[in-house]
Amino acid sequence: MQRIGVFVCWCGSNIAATVDVDAVAQAVKTEPGVAFSTNYQYMCSEGGQAIIRNAIAEHKLTGIVVCACSPRMHEATFRKTAATAGLNPYMVEIANIREQCSWIHKDREKATVKAIILSRAAVAKLNLDSPLTAGETPVTKRALVIGGGIAGIQTALDIADAGYEVDIVEKTPTIGGKMAMLDKTFPTLDCSACILTPKMVDAAAHEKITLYTYSEVEKVSGFVGNFTVDIRKRARSVDADRCTGCGDCMEKCPSKKSKSEFNQGLSNRSAIYIPFAQAIPNVPVIDREACIKFQTGKCGVCQKICSAKAVDYEQQDEIMTRRYGAIVAATGFKTINLGRFEEFQYAQSPDVITSLEFERLCNAAGPTKGKVMRLSNHETPKTVVFVQCVGSRSTVECGKTYCSKICCMYTAKHAMLLKEKYPETEVYVFYIDVRTPGKGFDEFYRRAAEEYGVRYVKGMVGKVAEENGRLRVQASDLIADKQLVIEADMVVLAAAIEPDPSARNLATLLTASMDTNDFFTEAHPKLRPVESPTAGVYLSGVCQGPKDIPDTVSQAGAAAAKVIGLLAKDKLVGNPCVAGCNEPLCNGCSACELVCPYGAITYEEKTVMDHGVREQRRVASVNEALCQGCGACTVTCPSGAMDLKGFTNLQIMAEVDAICR
């Protein structure tokens, strides 16, 4: 039997003016378990807390009910008070007689009756309370960042600068991601490589950062603070320690017909290759699909000419197991497949290109050395049409319902760069809406229209047709209510962006949730935007939703701050109000495992005593470090084995009973 103390607060006149506090204190005296009750002007004040502490000692109380303001206000205060008096802090219940009683009622009699009922419910609940202790788990002080684009690099640098070890796992042979492919960046038009490559070098040189390129995450187990991850380091076929990066092998490689991924397929590369000159690490990799040695067994030129003896055809994939305290997903994006948007003739005409391809054409280090040319005849285009929203904001099967966010701005940039290089070019931009919410963004777009003479037309392009070697672009001008026909030399499509396909598998490995578009979901869309609902998993960059570079870098830093906050702790103190399984009742059905949004429930084979019989059974087990205490499992459980500490079935029923008495 509990010995309960009830403390009714006046809150000055806030409560006492409407509720007869003395009557409340008197009324609850007769409730089961109540050993003491009193009232006081301000329970939260030092004086009030002293009354509580003294009463706990004097009356040997096992729990306290404070009838006062909302628990959202002072529950934590009174828990501390109880703890200082030697009580378990979870042996405290609050009856909210201010916000939910005195403040909303005028009739003193009615309010007093209601306050008594609310207090009685709190007492009923407390009678079933048991001391709770929050679990503690140690933290592995090392972070894993998955994805080596600007998002991953920035997150890793920020974590490393705070003094923690970070590993970056990147699936391609180099870090740098999409930003490395860009020419200039909006709205300042500074060169992308000039601002990115120093960061890549920093990341590679940082003593706290380890890079695993050409590698993928294969298995994840554990939970916040204690993840164990298997990383597959794919065989490069080149010994990175020996390679000097001289590039002789690439030059001599006879297989030179593979499409360069880095140049969006606009140029060819050899089978042994470094994606681009500033790649990090500056170590080639052999594309075994394209390599003559691997396909036919005859060749071996690269091995013969390598003076460092670095080429190793026998190299095998390597699986490494590492432990981490936190994991950051930074898997980035790709542009959508345009196979179903052939009204723009993308697959049929070489002069119809995507914006990312245009980016490579513009880039001085690109396949045309920065010369913008028609790929059909290598001439400089005289008329260029940019089409916005290709696949974005579309509810049909092949499109994406969301706005890709970056296209309006990069198109303004492309139009300007083009006008800068070739002032005589006629440039059209067909748009549905021009969206420029960002610092200096609208000014940037207006500059394209006003100073560079880019022709912005509100309307969509309906059909592109190749005619007499040029592109006949049929489009709407909605403001003039006209159908325009433009003889263009080049059409640039702002293809929608979508999450990198590798994200789907990663989400499964991490038990992190995704939305219908395969973007990672955040723990809270407003208040916890860089955390995944899975504790210890954080989100950086476009894998969470479309973002430009400034947004990505901010979010990368925010994710790093969250990781640092976690790694700075020696121990994680959990929420003690977590689910628990009453093993003899569990029938092993897995229903709870399926509803748990945090992957906190697993099943284990255990020896269970059931009515004196010892049995081997499959029963649910809750990982208290992962459980957030929502209670979804408790209601789903058909046998009533799952219950939630602090909000048990019996406690809530007792409250119902006390209210409906």
């Binding site: 509810t395 309307g459 969509m460 709407s476 909605l478 159908q483």
Partner: protein
Amino acid sequence: MRVDEKTLAEDIVRMSGTNVKKCMKCGKCSATCPSFEDMDVHPHSFVTMAEEGDVAGLLKSKSLWKCLSCFACVERCPRGVEPAHLIEAVRFFALSPQGLNKMKPDVVPIFLQNLEEKGAEVPQQLLTSAFRKYSK
């Protein structure tokens, strides 16, 4: 013409099975329409007018008879609005009252005569579709 334009507009939209509210005014329907130049009311305006209940404007528009039912607007609309279906529904209402037929039965032989004098092999399909559309 019916008095209650609002009800009629709703009937037209319902019959067409389209959701005009999904239109985001991108104009791709008008951009893709092969008959744009011959139309007075263009496909995107058709959608807006139906949304606003401008039935009179729809019923008397020339565009009604210029639409080739090629479904290019239906196929390419990024929002699945189906302007061609809307036009067809308006046609239905334009034809249903007696005496408003686009084409009178007695003009058809003249059309045919004109064509056949030149030795044209007019397929049945053309006649059927013409009658199906232009007379009720």
